[in-house]
C-alpha cells in the first residue's frame, strides 16, 4: 500500500513508531497532488513548502522524544471556507481571492495542537453555496470515480482529495448537507456534528444558525479521531456547547446489538433513484444481520425542509455577506465614482451568480412586508421539523436515510437549473434545521460504478451511536476504491 493510501490513524501510528516520517508521508501526498490536480482540481491553494516545513519540525520534535499528538505528522486538507492564518483563504470566491487572514479558526488551532500537517485549502462552492462544487470561482472539482461527474458540494474539494488520496484526512463544513452529500458522491466518510459541538470561530459564515464544521475521512475510525480533536467548547463562539467530549474512538467499537434504527418513509418515496434505493436497502439488511432492529418511522414535515432551508439560509447569508463591501479587504472595483458605486461594483464583480441569487432571495424574504410571510413562517416550520425528530427519537436510537436521490450527476447538468440543484439536498437539509448530528458512510456502488453512501442521523450530541452503526456498515462494505483508469 502506498503511503498516501493510508488512513489517518494508521499513518499517525507509523509516524509515532518511527516506521515512516511525516516528511515522507507529506511528500507522497504532495507528489500525488502534483500528479492529479490538473484533472481533479480538489484544491484552491496548495501549500507545499509550509507543509514540508511543518512535517520536518514535527519529525524533529518526535526525534527529541516529544509527543506530537494524535494526528502527529498526518497531511490534511482544509476546506477553503475555514480560516488558516497566513494562508490565502478564499471561500471559493473572487471577492476573497487575495485574502490572507491574520488569525486561525478554532478548529485549526486544535488540529495544530494535535500535530496535523496542512497541505492545502480544498475547493468549495463559492461561500459554500452549491451542491456540486461548480460555483467555485476557482473552477469545478472533479469526481475521482468519474471525472465527468461532480464531486457534490460544497465540500467537494475535500471529498475529492480524499477519494483521490490527495490527503489523508480533511475538514469540511455542512450547512444543508455540504459534508454528507459530497462524501456520499465520492465514497468517503463525512460527519456533520451536532450544532455547537464544534466551534464555528473562523468558519467563513454562510448561514450561521445552520453551519457546522466536521471531519471528512477515509474511515469511520478516522472520523471519530478527528472529531475528538476538534470538538469541545470555545469561548469565542457563543453557540458552542459546553459539554464534555466523549472518547469517540473507544465508543466506535462498542457494537450495535439491540439498537433501534428508524427508516423515515418520507425519505423513500418518489424521486429516489432505484440504484440508490437498492444500495440503501442492502445497507439495511447488513444492519439487521448485525442485530439492529429496523423500525418504520415518519418525519411528516420533511416536504417543507427545502423551502424552509432556502428562506432561512439565504436570509442569514444576505447579512453574513454584507461585510464584503470592498472597504477593508477583498476585491474593490477600480472604476467607481462614488461610495455606493464602489459597493455595488465591488460586489457585482466579486460575487458569482449563485451567491448573488441567494443574497437577493434572502434580502427579499427579510424585507419589510415579507418578513412575516417568509422568514417568521420559516422559523415556525423549522420548529415543527425539529419536533418531528424529537418525536422519532422517542422510539429509535438513530435514523437511516439515503443521502441524495441520485449518484453524482454529470458536470454541468444542474448548474443552470438551481431548483433542481436545491432538490439534491432534500435528504440532508432537515438535519441542519434541527441542529442534529449525521454521518455519511459508503454503502456500495451503483451500476454506473459511482459510490452510494447512506446517512445515519442521531440525537443531539449522540455522535457516538452514529460512529458505532457506521463502523459496522463500514466493516461489511469496505473502502470504495477508485477504479483503475478512472482518473
Amino acid at each position: 500500500m502506498e503511503l498516501f493510501e493510508l488512513r489517518a490513524r494508521e499513518l499517525a501510528k507509523k509516524i509515532r513508531t518511527g516506521e515512516v516520517s511525516s516528511v515522507e508521508a507529506t511528500e507522497a501526498v504532495l507528489r500525488r497532488i502534483e500528479q492529479l490536480e490538473p484533472i481533479i482540481n480538489a484544491y484552491i491553494t496548495v501549500i507545499a513548502d509550509k507543509a514540508l516545513d511543518r512535517a520536518r519540525s514535527l519529525d524533529d520534535k518526535r526525534a527529541r522524544g516529544e509527543d506530537t499528538g494524535p494526528l502527529g505528522g498526518v497531511p490534511m486538507a482544509i476546506k477553503d471556507s475555514i480560516i488558516v492564518a497566513g494562508t490565502r483563504t478564499t471561500a471559493g470566491s473572487h471577492i476573497l481571492e487575495n485574502y490572507i487572514p491574520p488569525y486561525n479558526a478554532h478548529v485549526i488551532d486544535k488540529l495544530l495542537d494535535a500535530g496535523a500537517v496542512f497541505v492545502g485549502k480544498s475547493n468549495t462552492d463559492e461561500f459554500t453555496m452549491g451542491s456540486t462544487c461548480e460555483t467555485s470561482y476557482f473552477g469545478t472539482a472533479r469526481n475521482p470515480h468519474n471525472i465527468d461527474r461532480v464531486t457534490g458540494g460544497s465540500s467537494g474539494g475535500s471529498a475529492a482529495a480524499l477519494a483521490a488520496h490527495e490527503c489523508i484526512a480533511a475538514l469540511g463544513s455542512d450547512t444543508g448537507g455540504s459534508i454528507r452529500q459530497p462524501a456520499s458522491f465520492c465514497g468517503v466518510v463525512g460527519i456533520k456534528p451536532t450544532y455547537g459541538r464544534v466551534s464555528r470561530f473562523g468558519l467563513i459564515a454562510y448561514a450561521s444558525s445552520l453551519d457546522q464544521i466536521g471531519p471528512m475521512t477515509k474511515s469511520v475510525e478516522d472520523s471519530a479521531l478527528v472529531l475528538s480533536v476538534i470538538a469541545g467548547h470555545d469561548r469565542r463562539d457563543s453557540t458552542s456547547l459546553d459539554e464534555p467530549v466523549p472518547d469517540y474512538i473507544a465508543e466506535t467499537d462498542a457494537g450495535v446489538k439491540g439498537l433501534r434504527v428508524g427508516l423515515p418513509r418520507e425519505y423513500f418515496g418518489e424521486g429516489l433513484d432505484p440504484e440508490v434505493l437498492k444500495v440503501t436497502l442492502e445497507a439495511v439488511d447488513i444492519l439487521k444481520s448485525e442485530g439492529i432492529e429496523i423500525v418504520d418511522i415518519s418525519l411528516p414535515h420533511t416536504e417543507y425542509a427545502v423551502p424552509t432551508y432556502y428562506l432561512l439560509a439565504t436570509a442569514e447569508a444576505s447579512a453574513n455577506l454584507e461585510r464584503y463591501d470592498g472597504v477593508r479587504y477583498g476585491h474593490r472595483s477600480g472604476d467607481a465614482e462614488n461610495l455606493y458605486e464602489m459597493y455595488s461594483k465591488s460586489r457585482s464583480e466579486g460575487f458569482g451568480i449563485e451567491v448573488k441569487r441567494r443574497i437577493m432571495l434572502g434580502t427579499y424574504c427579510l424585507s419589510a412586508g415579507y418578513y412575516d410571510a417568509y422568514y417568521r413562517k420559516a422559523q415556525k416550520v423549522r420548529r415543527l421539523i425539529k419536533e418531528d425528530f424529537d418525536h422519532a427519537f422517542g422510539t429509535v436510537d438513530a435514523i437511516l436515510a439515503p443521502v441524495c436521490p441520485t449518484t453524482a450527476f454529470p458536470v454541468g447538468s444542474k448548474i443552470n437549473d438551481p431548483l433542481q440543484m436545491y432538490l439534491a439536498d432534500i435528504y440532508t437539509i432537515s438535519l441542519n434545521l434541527a441542529g442534529l448530528p449525521g454521518i455519511t458512510v459508503p454503502a456500495g456502488k451503483a451500476r454506473d460504478g459511482l459510490p452510494v453512501g447512506v446517512q445515519f442521523m442521531g440525537r443531539i450530541l449522540d455522535e457516538s451511536t452514529l460512529f458505532r452503526i457506521a463502523r459496522v456498515l463500514e466493516r461489511n462494505v469496505g473502502y470504495l476504491n477508485v477504479e483503475k483508469g478512472a482518473v
Partner: protein, 475 residues
C-alpha cells in the same frame, strides 16, 4: 390657535465597560486611531461576537433605577445597512425583545411634578468613526469606536417643554454617572440625543406628523434645536401647510436644521435575530445581585453627607457634583481629616485647581491621605493656614508628601514663646513712633507689629502667639 408640542427622546449612552461589547478590545477614549481593533470588531470573515456580560449588568442597573421591567429573555438582532463605518454591514442591536421595558423618571419642574415614561432600554454596539479632512479627496476610518457598548433609552412622547427636556437630560446624566453605568462625558460622545417632535392644536388628541432630529451632542443644543423645530412646525401649520415626516440634522455651528432623509428614502433595516449570539437569559438571582451592588445615587449621598458629616447643605451639594469628588471627600475624612475643614479645602482649593487645569481627579497629584496630612498639620499648629496654601501648591506640582515639603523647606511654624518674645521686643524697640501711637489708643497699630514679626521670621511665626505676646509686652 395655540399648539402643544409632543416630544419623545432617544438617548444613546456609552456604557462604562473596560472592553467592547463583543470582543476584548479596549474602549478607552482618545487613543491613536485603529489601535483598539481585532478581527472581531473589524468584522473579518469567520469571526463571531461574544457578549460582554458587564454591559448587560450596567444596563440592568439603569433598568432597576428607573423602575423598568427587566426581561427574563431578550435577544440581539441584526440591523442591516451599508455604510463604511459599519464593518460587518450590520449593527448588532436589540430590537423585538429589549432587555428592559417600561420604567419612568419623575421631574420637579417649575410648574409641578412631571413623570416621563420609558418605552424601553436596550443594548447595541456603536459604529466606527469616519474622518473627512477638508481638501483631502480620501476619507479615513477609525475602528476604535466599533463595538463600543451603548444603551439606548427610548422615552414615551411625554415631553411638552424644553424645560422638561433639559431637566430630564440633566437628571438622567446624573443617574448614569452616579450609577457607574456611563462616564457621561458629552465631549467624548458618551451621551447622544435624538428627538421626535410633533405639534397639535390644544384640545386635539390625535398627534401630528413627527420629525426626528439627530446629532444633538449637548443638552444646550438639544433645547435650541427642539425649540427651532417647534417654531418651524408651528409656522408651517399656521400658514396652512403640512408637516413632512423626515429626519433632520442639527448643525451645532450654525444652529440650523437640515433635512437628512425623508420617509420615502427611509431604510429597510431587515432586522432578524442575530444567529451568532444566544438569547440573554436573566434570572432573579442575577437581578438580585445587580440590585445589591447598586451604587448610591446623588440625593441619598447628599443627605448622608449632611447627617453623617454634619456639613451644611451647600457643602453636600458641591461635594456630590460627581461620584469622584464625593469619593475624594470621603477618602480624605477616612484618612483622619475633620469633615468641615476637609470640605472647605476641597470646595476651595481642590475644585479651584481642577477647574483651572481641567485635570481629571484621577490625575490630580494630591491624594486624599496627603490632603488629610496637610490639614492635620494645620490643626496641630505645625504650619499656619497661609503656609498650608504654599505647601498645597507644592504638593500639587510635585506630588510630594506634605511632611516632606514642610521639612525640606523648613516651614515649621515657630510657636516657641521665648524666641518669639525676643523678636517681638526687637521689633517694638526699633519702632518708638508706632509704640507711642498704640499707647495713645490706636490699637490697629498692633497689626503693624505682628506683620514685622512675621516678616522677621519669614512667615513662620504662629500669628496667634505673636499677637498675644505683643499685647502682653505693650500692656
Amino acid at each position: 390657535m395655540r399648539y402643544v408640542p409632543t416630544i419623545g427622546l432617544e438617548i444613546h449612552s456609552q456604557l462604562a465597560t473596560k472592553t467592547k461589547i463583543f470582543c476584548g478590545c479596549s474602549t478607552e477614549f482618545g487613543s491613536e486611531p485603529n489601535t483598539h481593533s481585532c478581527p472581531v470588531c473589524l468584522g473579518m470573515p469567520g469571526v463571531l461576537p461574544v457578549l460582554n456580560r458587564q454591559a448587560i449588568e450596567l444596563a440592568m442597573r439603569m433598568g432597576l433605577l428607573t423602575g423598568g421591567n427587566i426581561q427574563r429573555m431578550s435577544y440581539f438582532a441584526r440591523k442591516n445597512y451599508f455604510y463604511p463605518d459599519l464593518p460587518k454591514g450590520y449593527q448588532i442591536s436589540m430590537f423585538e425583545l429589549p432587555l428592559i421595558r417600561g420604567g419612568h423618571l419623575d421631574l420637579r419642574t417649575s410648574t409641578g411634578e412631571k413623570t416621563i415614561r420609558f418605552n424601553r432600554i436596550h443594548l447595541e454596539e456603536d459604529a466606527g468613526k469616519l474622518i473627512h479632512i477638508e481638501g483631502d479627496t480620501k476619507s479615513y476610518f477609525d475602528v476604535n469606536r466599533c463595538g463600543v457598548p451603548l444603551i439606548e433609552i427610548v422615552t414615551e412622547p411625554d415631553f411638552e417643554t424644553t424645560e422638561e427636556i433639559t431637566l430630564f437630560l440633566n437628571t438622567l446624566k446624573e443617574m448614569l454617572i452616579f450609577s457607574g453605568v456611563s462616564l457621561g462625558n458629552m465631549e467624548q460622545g458618551n451621551i447622544r440625543v435624538d428627538a421626535n417632535i410633533s405639534i397639535r392644536p390644544v384640545g386635539q388628541k390625535k398627534l401630528g406628523t413627527r420629525t426626528e432630529i439627530k446629532n444633538m451632542n449637548s443638552f444646550v443644543n438639544a433645547a435650541i434645536a427642539i425649540n427651532a423645530e417647534i417654531e418651524r412646525q408651528t409656522d408651517i401649520v399656521e400658514q396652512g401647510g403640512s408637516i413632512v415626516q423626515e429626519t433632520l440634522l442639527f448643525d451645532a455651528a450654525h444652529k440650523t436644521l437640515a433635512a437628512m432623509r425623508s420617509k420615502e428614502e427611509a431604510h429597510d433595516y431587515r432586522y432578524f435575530p442575530e444567529p451568532d449570539l444566544v438569547p440573554v437569559f436573566v434570572d432573579d438571582e442575577w437581578i438580585g445581585r445587580v440590585r445589591s451592588e447598586l451604587p448610591e445615587m446623588r440625593d441619598q449621598m447628599r443627605r448622608r453627607f449632611e447627617t453623617v458629616y454634619q456639613i451644611p447643605a451647600y457643602d453636600a451639594e458641591i461635594l456630590t457634583t460627581s461620584p469622584e469628588i464625593a469619593c475624594y471627600y470621603e477618602e480624605t475624612i477616612k484618612a483622619g481629616a475633620d469633615p468641615k475643614k476637609a470640605s472647605n479645602w476641597i470646595m476651595g482649593e481642590v475644585l479651584r485647581v481642577l477647574n483651572e487645569t481641567q485635570l481629571p481627579l484621577g490625575e490630580f497629584k494630591i491624594k486624599p491621605p496627603m490632603l488629610a496630612g496637610l490639614l492635620s498639620m494645620v490643626e496641630k499648629g505645625t504650619i499656619s493656614g497661609s503656609m498650608a496654601k504654599t505647601v498645597f501648591d507644592e504638593m500639587r506640582a510635585t506630588g510630594k508628601d506634605p511632611k516632606a515639603i514642610v521639612g525640606e523647606q523648613g516651614l515649621t511654624q515657630i510657636s516657641d514663646k521665648d524666641a518669639l518674645e525676643k523678636i517681638a521686643r526687637e521689633v517694638i524697640s526699633s519702632s518708638p513712633d508706632e509704640v507711642a501711637k498704640y499707647k495713645a489708643g490706636k490699637t490697629q497699630v498692633l497689626g503693624f507689629f505682628v506683620g514685622q514679626v512675621m516678616k522677621a521670621t519669614g512667615g513662620k511665626a504662629n500669628p496667634g502667639e505673636v499677637n498675644a505676646i505683643i499685647r502682653e509686652i505693650l500692656s
